[in-house]
Every structure is written in C-alpha cells, then in structure tokens.
Assembly symmetry: C3
Homo-oligomer: 344 residues x 3
C-alpha cells in the first residue's frame, strides 16, 4: 500500500467528522524577518517591539496573516489536496495575537457536504480552528472547497449546507487583551489618519505595485508549509506555469495597503474572500480599499473598520470592482472583506 | 603578495595535516525559518517546539541538514576551492542535535592522498569534524575530492588510500541523548507508519516535485557560507549557468521524502552519496526512497531505517536507479544512502 | 483628500526642519539569517557569538550594514520619494553595534537647500540620526538628493550649502565600547592579515563574483522597508526593468571583500559613496579595494583602515577606477569610501 498521502476525496468526508491536521508549527523571529523580506509590510506593531509595547502588546505579535497562512496551510493535505477549486471562506476571526514561541496547530470539523449534479465532485464545508500551545484559540474560520470524488459511483451523502454569516458582526470581534490605542504614536506609525477620518464608501488607491517572482511566492508558500503542488512545480499544470498561492496575493495586497491604511494595523476578522483570477510570476500587483462599515469597540481608543481590500493585476485608478455584467473587472485578482482595528 | 585565498592545491596537502576552518557560525531561529522557506520540510520535530519536547528534545533542534550544510560549507575554502570534482563522502554520523545558539566550527584532517596518473590532479581524502561551543562533536564525516596540482612537475606524494566503511554499522549510530519515541504523536507528525510498517526492499515514490530557481539555490548555498563560485556567478562556467550546490538537491529530496517518510524525522548517518548529474534552475526535482536495512536501537521506542534517497529530474514512477549498463538512469541527480530514526 | 503619502517636494523642505521618520524597526536573529542568505558574508563577528564574545562584543552584533540599510530605508518616504537622483552621502559614523532586540528609529534635519537653475528641481541636504530604544545614537550621516518641485512657480528658498568633510577624521571614529582585538583568532576569522600587512595605495582584487537576481534584491530591499517603487515594479520604469537598490550593491561588494579583507570586520564610517551606474538582475558583481589611509585607535589591538571599495559589473583585474577622461570606468557600479577596524 502506498505510504504517501493521497488526500481525501469527497466520499471520505462526513458531517461532524473532525480532522486533526499535521504538523504543529512554532512561530519564531525568523518568520517575522522572512515575512518582512517577502512583503512590503511596514505596520509599526509587528515591526517594532517598542511600538507594540506602547499599545499594550508585549512581546510584539507577528503579522496576523502569518498566523492565518500557517493555520490555513495545515488544512491543505487533508481538505484541499484533491480540490478542484477553493470556493470561499467566511467567519474568520482573530482571537489573539501570535508571538514568537507560540506553537500553532489546526483542527477542522466538517460542517457541510453537497454533491454536485455531475456526480464527479462535491462541495465540502469545514470549520477550522487554530490553537496555541496553551490550547487557546488563535483564529477560526469556515471554508468550502470543491473536491473530486474518488469513485463516481459512490452514493451521494445527505446534503447539508451550513448557514454562514455575510460578515462577522462587529460585536463578535475579539479585541486583543490589553490593546490600548489611546496613546498611539501616529508619527511613528507613519500616517495621521484615525477612525474618524475614514468614511463609509471611501475608496483608497494604495498606489504602489510589486511584480511577482516565482522564487518569492514559493519561499512564502513553503514557509506556511502549504503543500499544494501547483505552486511549486512547472510540471503540475498544463501551461507549465506555477500558480501563485492565493494567500501570497492577500499578503501582498495587505502590505501595499499600508499606504493609506497604515493605522489599520491589526486584523480583526476576514468576512469573505474571493480569488477572482489566478496570479503568476511577472504580474504586477496593486491594491485599493473601500471602507464598507465602521464600528466602535469597548477597548480603549480602538475602533474597527470593515474594509474591502482588492488586489489587481496592473493599476486601476478607477478602482472598478465589477463590470456592467456584474462580473469582476478584468484585472481583479482578489476581493477580500475584512475587519481591522484602528485608533480612534 | 595577493591577500585573497587561492585555495589549496594537491601538493599543499599532506597526510596527517590538520586544517582549522574559518568561520565559526552560530545557528539561530532565523536559520530554521530560512530553511523552512527554502525547502518543503514539514518534519514535526524541527517544526514544533511542543512536538520536540514531547520526544525529549527541548529546545527543538533545527533540521539535521542545517548542521551538515554549515559544517560542510566551512571546508570548501580549504579543501575544495580548486576541486575538479567532489568524488564522495562516507561515514557521516550525527552525534547530537543542533539547537539555536549553538556555534559550529569544523576541523579536517587529511587521511589520504593519491596522485592521478595524468600528473595534473590528485585525490585528497579528509575526515572532518564539526564541534559546538562546548567542544562536543556534532557530526563527522569523510570526504574525498579530486584537486588540481598547482605545479604539474611537483613530485607525487606517497599514496595513502584510507579504508572507509560502505555504511555506518547500526551499533555505531549515536542516538540523541534523551530521545524517547514511546509517546510519539503520529497524528501530529502527519503519517501513521512506524518501524514495523517498512520492509527492506520497499520503494516509496514521494510524488511531489519542486522546480528549482536560481534565487532559491543561491540563498540556500549562501546561508551555509559555501563559497564555491560556480553556484553564484554566470561568469564562472562556460555555459553561463549556475550549478546548483549538491547539498541543495539533498535538502530538496529530504524534504520531499516527508510524503511517505514523515516519521523518519531525524538523520542518524549518511553512509554514502553520489551526485549523479548536475542540477540547474528550471529542473523539477522529485524523490523516491528504498528501504535498505532496518535496525533496533537501545533508545526507548527508537528504530533506525537505512534508506536510499534518490532525487530525480522529472518524476520516475518506475523508480529506476541504474540502466542495464550499470550506469545511473538518465534522470537521476542524487543517490544518497542514509540512516534515519523512526518510532517503533 | 488622498490618504496615501505623496512624499515631500522641494518646496516642502526648509532648513532646520526636523522629520521624524516612520516606522521603528526591531532587529532580530531573523535579520541576521536573512542577511546571510542574501549576501556572501563570512565575517566572524556577526557570524559567531563565540567569536564576537572573544573580542568583547556580547551579544554578537549583526552586520553594520543591517543598521545602515534599516536606518536609511526609514528616510525614503519623507526625503527621497520624489527624488530625481541620490547625489551622495558623507560623514556616516557607526557609533555602536546593533544587536538583536534593538529597535531603531531615524530622525532627519534639513541642513541645506539649493534650487537648481532650471527651476524644476532642487537639492536637499539632510543629516539623519538613527537611535536605539535607549535613545543612544547608533549611526548618523549626511545625504543630499535632487528632488522635484511640485510647483515650478514656487519661489526659490535661500541657498544654504552645508560644509561636509571629505572624510571622517580618524580621531572622530567611535570604537565600539569593549572592543578588544588583542586576542584575535586569525585562524577562525579566515585570514592572517593584520593592520601592518596593509599598505596605503595597495589594491586588492576580491576575485569572486555574484550574479544578481530580481528576487534577491527585492527580498533585501524590502527587508529594510525601503519603499522606492523602482526597485519592485516592472511598471515603474520605461524599460520595464527593476532598478537594484544601491544599498544591495554596497552589501554585495562588502561581503565579497571578505576575500582579502576578512579581518576588516567592523565598519567605523562611510566617508562618501557614489553609485556610478545602475545595476540590474543578470549583472555579475565583483569588487576590489584600495587602501587609502591607516590610523591607530586608542582601543586595545584596534587599528583602522580607510578603504575605497569598488563594485564592478564584470571583473576588472586592472582595478581601474576612472578613464583618461576622469569619468568612472565603464564597469564601475559603486565607489565607496569607508573606514573599517582591523586587528593590529
């Protein structure tokens, strides 16, 4: 019998099933440096131990997306190795910052199944939870993927489609313990804009662009122990091009958003995400944001912005999300809906 | 007189000579992260401080190959700067894990010399020993290289050819102090296979492939302070291609072997290694393994597998090592013979 | 109003103005590893905690250029985002080594202004000072850049041209507290050459070459949070080529200078620097040095060499700096004038 992991096929999943994902991973200062080399991030909290301590976070957490990518990467061998498509995610909440020395592991529960009418594939919904070495929840999220059936004649399971919120409600956001933005140093953070300066409906062109290289997206994806072979091998796809991990585009866009959202430093939630088009080496990625909503929190000096973060191939100064046909505009790579904390 | 290092030529070596290699190097958490970005490694012990502690290793060691590459890289300026070819290595034993904070230095003793009949080159055998800041042996190995003579008229030295074992005997393996695999968490490690599940003669196709980029192999080789210029400069070779450091292929193959050998986490020895063909950027590297031998150890829950680890350019599902002519099959890049520990 | 940073234009600067640059940045062991992967550095002090302690530096500092690049990168968004050209720097002194855990921030004072006769651009001189989390000065330097005017009709400011020294005087060098090179381990450091072995006027061909890749120079430049878009985007310049950050060439040349200057481990000052030609991916960078001056210091066993460090595209064994027309020879990329400490 083969000793290698064949991944799970649609008929291997059942509602209520719990998957304990390998491999636990300890976050280190090395990850912080690697992240800073891979993405043009300049957010002051993960960049500076002094700044982080000044807002009540000591030791300084790493970028929230480090935790997201590591936790997400764990699920790939069990959930999406045989995926036809990653269809979406929702209800992702960041429960506490991750600091060097934390060891993350991820567990998923199957919360929905629906066989497609073609009988060859099906959609699997899972809710995944990443915990640290003290079994505290670090983040959790729901995700659904379309997966191949191994045997097209296998019977269809009962259809269960979970109800998922369009967005995490503001009152369900979990502000990091101790976070206090009342003495926030705007000069050190790089921009003067605070909660009241952002208006719902406002769009911000983040201006800068980064051209992707194969070496960089592979270094990043490997760092998160994401094993999907389409990212690493020119022999895994008919066009001989390595597909850029969607999370790489998320991190690029997030880092580019510093220019205009330098104070939206901490992620609170990811409400939804769509990868509208694939990205490849040679693409130059730009980003723009739209303020979707605003909310106060009970933490001192802390507000929350709901933001649409859009990554595009080539700069679109018109910041057009969709064409008249309702489809994503041609250059759109990513449409991400998130909550971030900002100083009030 | 030139102040740069011309390297040693064949007539600069004498049997019994001891070479103290520069530069000592401290291993850090940064090296662990860099290794994880460069290679698709997911072995649980170097990945997770929690997992490592659960098997008696606290703090968590870095990948054994980090120590190997660093220790090996030290020898290049003195031993192989003027090498025509790296002919082989043998009797490499890992004596103790390396943890962040350890400072490695390497010393070599010349143990053999044989001038070639052409009078222009000769073979040099050295035994190298890497020690940590407490002067404890971390690893040692023998290696032989073909080196240019500076002066073709220099007299040939007395021929001394050392006896080297085909493989490290199982009873000579040095199990890391404190290693205890009796409570091994197979779910966290990623695979259920244990010592008894592997049979001598069994072959495992590790399935996944990685396409090499120039940036990545240079980053890796530089990290080990390996200075051989053929790896870094398009002007160092007539074909203007950078030659990939053989150790890069070793680490790629080793990391790919996770898929099927996830529990063979710790290297015990490298018995022999041959780089059957050069590798270049653009090559897609795959790996397969053959179980050559099995041995028990006196440590709790710890067995040892002797494995042939083969890296190929392009996937060879037939796992053919040699053609009918006895030569390596066309795609074979690396033929490595090693011992690794596995849970019983 | 746009929330993104438009950068400062010539008329935004006034003599005496102080700019507090974002973002503070904590140096970590991850930066040390990343630096070692990006540059072929083998200097023993930043490489080995044991070696560093043996010369009185405990904990081991990172490469001095890490501090330089981080501190310099901070000034880009405020000083040179709209620069036409980086014209030069001077009087850069390294006041104390940087160790992991140090958080750097940079402040600049405008010390000179001169509008160009075309009325469209002007030259801005700033003196920048980087401090650590204890408000101790880490390094300071002067720099002048040519910057666009926003409004060509804006009145010219009073011309103020600061007096800057051609070189830092030897007696103004600040030897790191505790540095003692009397028990220096030349074997571990890699070369036997000491202060007395170097003669003024001597030139050293550092022999080795490194071919630049886009991925590597972007990783490096990003690590220093340098945001100049010409380094990252193929769409930022008419020729679709990413311009290599000048500091990347400095670090390449400095690392290559190990071969012949292995004991010139610590930078004391940068007296002047000119980037004679742009560098791009595919260029193979070599380096040579000229000893310009020598000086004793009051620290035990510590001398100082003033060195011209020249980076070239392609190797120039003739080590020609300028042609008969007085202009830089065609292959010259960098002409850097520095002071470094060496054992006596």
């Amino acid at each position: 019998m083969a000793k290698t992991n064949p991944g799970n096929f649609f008929e291997d999943f059942s509602v209520g099933q719990v998957l304990e994902h390998a491999t636990p991973r300890t976050i280190t200062e090395g990850d912080r440096a690697a992240y800073g080399a891979l993405y043009p991030t300049r957010f002051a909290i993960p960049s500076s131990a002094v700044f982080a301590a000044s807002v009540g976070l000591d030791p300084a957490p790493v970028e929230d997306l480090v935790a997201f990518h590591v936790a997400f990467g764990k699920t790939v061998p069990d959930v999406s190795l045989n995926a036809v498509a990653n269809l979406g995610y929702a209800e992702c909440r960041f429960h506490r910052p991750v600091v060097p020395g934390d060891t993350l592991r991820t567990r998923s529960e199957v919360i929905g199944l629906k066989q497609n009418s073609n009988g060859r594939t099906g959609v699997v919904w899972v809710r995944s939870t990443a915990t640290n070495q003290r079994d505290e929840v670090v983040l959790d999220w729901a995700r659904w993927v379309m997966v191949h059936k191994r045997d097209h004649d296998a019977p269809a399971p009962e259809t269960v489609v979970p109800q998922l919120a369009d967005a995490v409600a503001a009152q369900d956001l979990v502000v990091p313990a101790g976070l206090d933005l009342t003495a926030y140093d705007f000069a050190a953070a790089g921009e003067p804009h605070r909660f009241d300066d952002y208006e719902v409906g406002e769009r911000i062109d983040h201006v800068d662009g980064v051209t992707i290289t194969d070496a960089e997206h592979m270094l990043a994806t490997r760092l998160w122990q994401n094993t999907a072979k389409v990212h690493f091998s020119t022999e895994a796809r008919p066009d001989s091009r390595r597909l850029v991990y969607g999370g790489h585009v998320i991190s690029l866009a997030r880092a580019l958003s510093f220019n205009g959202l330098a104070n939206a430093q901490l992620l609170a939630a990811i409400n939804a995400g769509a990868h509208a088009a694939p990205a490849y080496a040679g693409d130059t990625v730009y980003a723009w944001s739209e303020v979707l909503d605003k909310a106060e929190t009970s933490a001192p000096g802390v507000g929350a912005l709901r933001l649409r973060l859009v990554a595009t191939k080539g700069r679109d100064e018109s910041m057009t999300l969709r064409g008249e046909d309702g489809k994503y505009a041609p250059g759109v790579l990513l449409d991400l809906d998130l909550w971030a904390y900002v100083p009030r």
